[in-house]
């Protein structure tokens, strides 16, 4: 529920900012399509990264609970996985920011 709330909030914020960002000389249809694409892109990225991070953390906690001696190795592997997943989310954010505010194909 909390994840859904954050995704919805993110989508609304991005769509709200999109209208402010673009000047009126761009076709409104294009602006709305870009806003929808950005919202969908960020939503899908957050959804996938959230599921991935949740599954990784769940497995790490289970592994540590079953075998506390292996917690060091598990934590390192978890850290690597989390860093990769978080990088993907940050890339998605950068691409969406470019689409919204620094789109090379608009204006």
């Amino acid at each position: 529920m909390r994840k859904l709330f954050f995704i919805a909030l993110n989508t609304v914020a991005l769509m709200g900012l999109a209208s402010v960002a673009f000047a009126a000389d761009v076709d409104p249809g294009t602006i709305s399509m870009i806003a929808i694409a950005t919202a969908l892109g960020m939503g899908i990225a957050a959804f996938g990264c959230g599921i991935g991070q949740g599954l990784g953390l769940k497995a790490a906690c289970e592994g540590t609970a079953r075998n506390p001696e292996a917690s060091g190795k598990i934590t390192v592997t978890l850290l690597l996985g989390m860093a990769f997943i978080e990088s993907l989310a940050i890339y998605a954010l950068v691409v969406n920011l470019i689409l919204l505010f620094a789109n090379p194909f608009v204006g």
Binding site: T75, V76, L79, Y91, F101, A102
Partner: protein, 143 residues
């Protein structure tokens, strides 16, 4: 070479004091700090050229993120009390700050995007190199 070893030792002692108890995590964070210093050196060497600033900013952002991620994960896995609320606040705070920083860098500062993404990718490069060296060392030990 000996000088580098001393610097490594100093940084690792500092990291141990800061709460990084696992050796591998400490090495990863140490290497990321080196990459951050590389970004800073490029900024100074190229006298605030936009691409160098973008790379340095990307390095700084990814280093900060990685530092807090590593520290947070250790506390999540090893803390017997759980500390769920603190972890959540830390995670979303970091995410919001990263988003704001990227917004500022891309829209207000209009920095070169390729260099910024290269700076953000230093964590991936760090982890990949660490994995390759570790794999190589393991193979050498087995042989």
């Amino acid at each position: 070479m000996r000088q580098l070893g001393r610097i490594n030792l100093k940084i690792e002692t500092f990291l141990r004091r800061s709460g990084f108890h696992l050796d591998d995590v400490r090495i990863l964070v140490r290497n990321q700090i080196y990459l951050f210093f590389l970004g800073c050196a490029l900024v100074v060497l190229f006298r605030l050229a936009p691409w160098a600033v973008a790379f340095g900013a990307g390095c700084a952002l990814s280093t900060l993120n990685f530092w807090h991620l590593a520290k947070g994960l250790q506390s999540i896995v090893h803390n017997p009390d759980g500390a769920v609320a603190a972890s959540l606040i830390r995670f979303y705070g970091r995410l919001a700050l990263s988003g704001l920083a990227l917004f500022g860098l891309i829209i207000w500062a209009s920095l070169p995007l390729a260099a910024l993404i290269a700076g953000l990718s230093t964590v991936i490069v760090n982890i990949l190199f660490w994995g390759v060296f570790r794999f190589h060392r393991q193979k050498v030990k087995e042989a």
